[in-house]
Subunit: 286 residues, 3 copies
């Protein structure tokens, strides 16, 4: 049984998502249709990329992910601003999106297994009237039905890069960013736990956020390692540093976003103090 | 595998929708259950009709659509105000709703293939306690299981008409209305592109909205034919005139609704200027 | 075909729910996945319990309900404040939740068929990083695949009681509470219709809410038994007293919550006046 997931900014109040699902079922009934989210902020391809990069590993091989965010192609063969409906093969799954920066934001430094542009986009201008359905989803359905990729799309070198903020490492310092605020108000950063392995396990550090107004000195294994209502830093399941309030949530008791005024793109600094480093630093002045 | 779609005003926070789905699965498991929307404005049958009329063509034959909006029957055999749980056969699909104006709003000038009233509504007053489940959905499940329509409902002539605004044509003028604001703030009107075929292809025209404060002089094939942030008029996939902002959306960059203050039921005027018509008009004054 | 339902406070904007669904499909594809709700207020286990207690009867035997609200275990073998991932067998269905009061709130005075604690919770601390997925859902998938309960969990006596307000009966009086406000603004109480059977059918009564500012003197069989916009009391499908406005809804015409300022936990009083009781009362003063 095939699986198609849908990630769109179409919301829950319109007929658009139902049209997508009806179209799938009209062609193939032996399928699971899974909503990743339909409340992506309109045209926010980096939010769509965040969502899929956070959950694709949970899906089985050959899952087909259709991303309906900013999906109208821009056909501009001469210039560099065009965006073409495309298919990424990655981790044995398919990701079908307009090449509007989504793939760059999703892959970051990773390499695709393969990358393809959907053919015959210009054959019928009506396809542009609902391109998520008529271009992207249609390609996904054909893959699901067993059509060969070669009959749907052509290999293409390179996809549009995205200017996503990345975490960087300096001596004794990691600088990263809040990339997502979740339903509880937890702030998920782009600082991966692999960044910490450079330091000795017992190296002390402080995580600063909102400039230096707030900090956390340790990383917990779970929320409940701190008292209820207390701030806590931990690595989430995907290995990214998260700043949260234990059992806090926006709108009720207050989540980290609300209590600390955190927003997407806010800088997070992790300052390390390796044993002896302070002495070394001081030695410059003596 | 059968398909049941659900369109309700029950929202996403209650158990009602889960009760509907559990009830389906208790009777039949070889089924796809598709949510059209559960965030229809309470009792807004014309919104439900808009959603279904916009997406039913995407579903395969024999799909069963259950509409749970204003579904408590009003049994009033003498008067004309009654509303009875009913089944419409149309486009080889079933639409099951209370006859509260939904069918009139959905069909407009179209004729049903057939129309039926569900029998035995009064047999058990408890059915009225959750009529979408106990009357409408139950009938849908029986159809899905292969019960003959004759054992569920009786043919009935006529259904309740709805007073929906329709677009009208006058000489050199189309007057229509905004019938839906979508998730992006796009204003969808009830002006169909077939209305334009009366005029020569090169006839110039202006689309006026919010009285004459704003207008658009041409119809684009897709959003991106105008610059980002610019107003654009186009026909949507169903052929209806839509007024939008390219890559605009309410709440972020601003959609058409937000920027122009457009609302459902606002009038939209398309004024045509056939070659020579200006002269003709002017000739009255000379 | 198995059924898993999901009830969480994860919202619709994150990847968490998609991760749950992908995880199910990675293990088993012959399954229906049903969302009860993902918009439970964060950490509000009594809301989750209300939703499930309101709809579980609609699901077939052997349905597996996974409740992802406040699901991080608190492992505290010595004290009494621990909460362990647990499985309740009830009504021939499974309910899998952290034992954080959910089961107490769900069962109230009912007895489980059996109750179990999931084993090996401490075997891998990483399981705590997404416990709804890695502890609760994983157990549900194993049950669905036919694993014996004994290999997943161990029988346990007792579960955490919840301090949920219950309705009480005094002579000629029922005192209960609003336990839920639904999408229309209807106020659902915890007063069951069985409480009324103690009195003669023709005993007159008044239902008072918001102290004594408002009252209703009779119980209707359906909303439409009162005029549109009028207040109405009825028993909902599960037998609980509900206070509503016929065809009213919050945000449009005004639901009961909005018009009467009703909130969850507000007291509702039903005062009965058995024939002769007034005389009896008066006789104290004559």
């Amino acid at each position: 049984m095939g699986i198609i997931t849908l990630t769109t900014d179409m919301g829950l109040n319109d007929h658009y998502v139902a049209s997508l699902k009806g179209t799938i079922l009209k062609s193939i009934q032996d399928v699971h249709i899974i909503d990743v989210s339909h409340t992506v902020k309109p045209f926010d391809i980096s939010e769509a990329a965040y969502l899929l990069s956070s959950c694709y590993k949970d899906f089985p091989d050959e899952t087909i992910h259709v991303i309906g965010v900013d999906s109208e192609p821009i056909v501009n063969f001469g210039g560099t601003d065009g965006s073409f409906p495309s298919i990424l093969r990655y981790n044995n799954q398919y990701f079908i999106s307009n090449d509007n920066g989504f793939f760059g934001s999703f892959l970051k430094e990773e390499a695709p297994e393969s990358f393809w542009r959907i053919d015959n986009v210009l054959s019928n201008p009506n396809l542009f009237q609902f391109p998520t359905k008529n271009l992207l989803l249609t390609a996904g359905i054909r893959l699901l039905k067993g059509d060969k990729m070669e009959t749907i799309a052509s290999p293409f070198e390179g996809f549009k890069k995205a200017f996503t903020p990345i975490a960087i490492m300096e001596p004794n310092l990691i600088k990263g960013y809040v990339i997502h605020i979740d339903n509880y108000g937890n702030a998920i950063t782009n600082i991966h736990k692999s960044f910490f392995t450079r330091f000795e396990k017992e190296t002390s550090f402080s995580i600063f956020f909102k400039k230096k107004d707030y900090y956390i000195d340790e990383i917990s294994g779970s929320y409940n390692e701190v008292p209820q209502g207390e701030k806590v830093a931990l690595f989430n399941e995907n290995g990214y540093l998260e700043i949260a309030i234990n059992r806090g949530a926006n709108g009720s008791t207050g989540g980290a976003q609300q209590l600390f005024g955190l927003h997407t793109h806010d800088m997070i600094r992790v300052e390390f103090t390796p044993q002896g480093s302070r002495q070394t630093l001081d030695s410059f002045f003596t």
